[in-house]
Amino acid sequence: MSEILNMETICKSYYMGEEEIEVLHNVNLKVHSGEFLSILGPSGSGKSTIMNIIGCLDVPTKGKYYLSGLDIESYDEVALAKARNKEIGFVFQSFQLLPKSSALKNVELPLVYAGVPAGERRERAASMLEKVGLGDRMRNYPNQLSGGQQQRVAIARALVTEPTILLADEPTGALDQKTGNQVMELFEEINQEGRTIIMITHDTNIAKYAKRVVHILDGYLTE
């Protein structure tokens, strides 16, 4: 199994006024292709920060971050945007669907930024929606879908670019337990097909769906 993510002594600090606050301390993390990893920690532990760095939304203050073997330190804003598009599929707690676009259009969106032509885009988005069990809901708008269905649309959107990593931030946080479990079962399925998943959560019940769990507390990461 190839190594797709490698964090070496990552530190991240923020400035609160004059004061520098370090929220991640010497984080080391390696993730291999096909893993289903859960980063478990309470709120304020630094798990959002680590997700932002993994997702190329933010860059570390110190340390090295290799994504698919490439050091992202040299990346400018455009390269980071390309990396997010190509390498990462985001799934957010609150789904983050565009309310005025249909499910199909929402799923097509990352392909727009990847420069995929319209016809192929539609095809790929449609087949991805079929895959998450929403083949009959493509024309629906987010407000016509249940929470579970909306999260499935978001998952389809995350997968449509065939990303290296599916990065989920509290994917069941806005769902009831039953639909939450269904979403987790979908994650297991996706992982079985070989997709690497990194999931950030504070919920131990959800974390146990993952094959490997790392803990984060006060900015320290432990296996």
């Binding site: 939304l57 945007a81 997010r84 983050q96 930024y113 670019t161």
Partner: protein, 390 residues
């Protein structure tokens, strides 16, 4: 990619219909007022220009106030001046005012003007029916008259006036023609006028001198020299009294009129342009609100791989869309307003492509200029902050 940005901008405009329309309204009003004002002023300028040109750009008008010793010009002095170089004709005017009587009907305060055949030769459209005053009428001081439209209506309603006899200032004249009705708003109205041969007028109106005359030029380009010659002749006639006469070149008047009108056009266009700037600020305001409102969306788009550039382009296109659409509606509205106005005030209507290009260019520029700052702001949003703002 650009096509996608255009599509996304368009979808966003459509999904905020009311707000988009209200924002566009600023541009619509700005462009419409530019188009309407410039077109109306242009139309009025053309109309008035036409009227002045009709009066004759090749005309020099001379009027004399006279001195105590010499009140005006004699027949001989007139013919002397008419022999100067570059003069194709000279038309003296003797003005008086009198009541005119046909049978038992009278009309008070009619302007009676003595003219010669040149007056009618220069502008054949003056005469509506009958014949003009000719050389023979002048030489033999015939008692013939040509009457204006109001006199026809008043005294000869339903009757053909030609051949009838009209009493002016106690003398009987034979009507030989009628004048074409002139525009009430025109510079020179003939409607209440009776025209008789000036030689007849000198005898019968009790006027001894010609006090004003028009000189028609052969070559307009030599007008300045001719003005000088005429002034020279008058200087001698009036015994070196310069304030006894004025010489007025119509060409000069047209020129200064055009200067005034083009200044007016620029002034009004400038005022209208201010409203376009206000409209632009409206667009900027809406775009800034839109950026704030769509912070999460922008963050999401960035997370999904949108580059800062593509975000910026999307917002600028949106702003250009709004201003160009506003501009097009503004052009149509402005043209309509100008058309209606010019129809009402009776000036000519023609819209120049230059004006349209100016308006479209202006509104596109407004879109780019005022869309730039909000678009820049959107593109600079940090995706983490943007996503967190939910």
């Amino acid at each position: 990619m650009l096509f996608e940005s255009i599509k996304m901008s368009w979808e966003n405009i459509i999904s905020n219909k009311l707000r988009s329309i209200l924002t566009m309204l600023g541009i619509v009003i700005g462009v419409a007022s530019i188009i309407a004002l410039i077109t109306i002023v242009q139309g009025a300028t053309n109309s008035i220009n036409q009227q002045i040109t009709d009066l004759g750009a090749n005309k020099i008008m001379v009027s004399t106030m006279g001195t105590t010793i010499k009140q005006g010009l004699t027949d001989d002095e007139i013919s002397q001046i008419s022999e100067l170089e570059n003069i194709s004709g000279l038309s003296p005017t003797i003005s008086g005012s009198s009541a005119v009587v046909y049978k038992k009907d009278a009309m008070e305060d009619v302007s009676v003007q003595g003219k010669n055949e040149v007056y009618f030769n220069v502008d054949s459209s003056l005469l509506k029916s009958g014949r003009p005053i000719n050389r023979l009428d002048i030489e033999s001081k015939n008692q013939v008259a040509i009457i204006g439209n109001n006199i026809v209506k008043e005294l000869f309603y339903g009757i053909n006036p030609i051949g009838k006899e009209l009493i002016v200032h106690g003398t009987t004249y034979k009507i030989i023609g009628t004048l074409t009705p002139s525009n009430e708003f025109g510079l020179e109205s003939n409607n209440d006028t009776v025209i008789i041969p000036y030689t007849t007028a000198l005898r019968s109106l009790g006027v001894k001198n010609v006090s004003s005359f028009d000189v028609y030029l052969e070559d307009v380009n030599l007008a300045n020299q001719t003005v000088k010659d005429i002034k020279g002749a008058l200087y001698q006639v009036f015994n070196q009294k310069e304030d006894a006469y004025t010489v007025f070149n119509m060409g000069d008047m047209i020129e200064s009129f055009q200067t005034v009108m083009s200044m007016m056009s620029m002034l009004l266009g400038g005022i209208a342009a201010i409203s376009l700037v206000v409209g632009g600020i409206g667009i900027m305001n809406m775009m800034l609100v839109s950026v704030t409102e769509r912070t999460t969306e922008i963050g999401l788009r960035k997370a999904l791989g949108a580059t800062p550039n593509s975000i910026q382009i999307q917002f600028i296109i949106e702003s250009i869309f709004l201003s160009i659409f506003g501009g097009i509606i503004g052009i149509l509205l402005g043209a309509l307003i100008a058309y209606i106005t010019s129809t009402i005030i009776g000036t000519s209507f023609s819209i120049s492509t230059g004006t349209i290009i100016l308006a479209v260019g202006f509104s596109a520029a407004v879109g780019i200029i005022f869309g730039y700052a909000p678009a820049r702001k959107a593109s600079k949003l940090n995706p983490i902050d943007a996503l967190r703002s939910l």
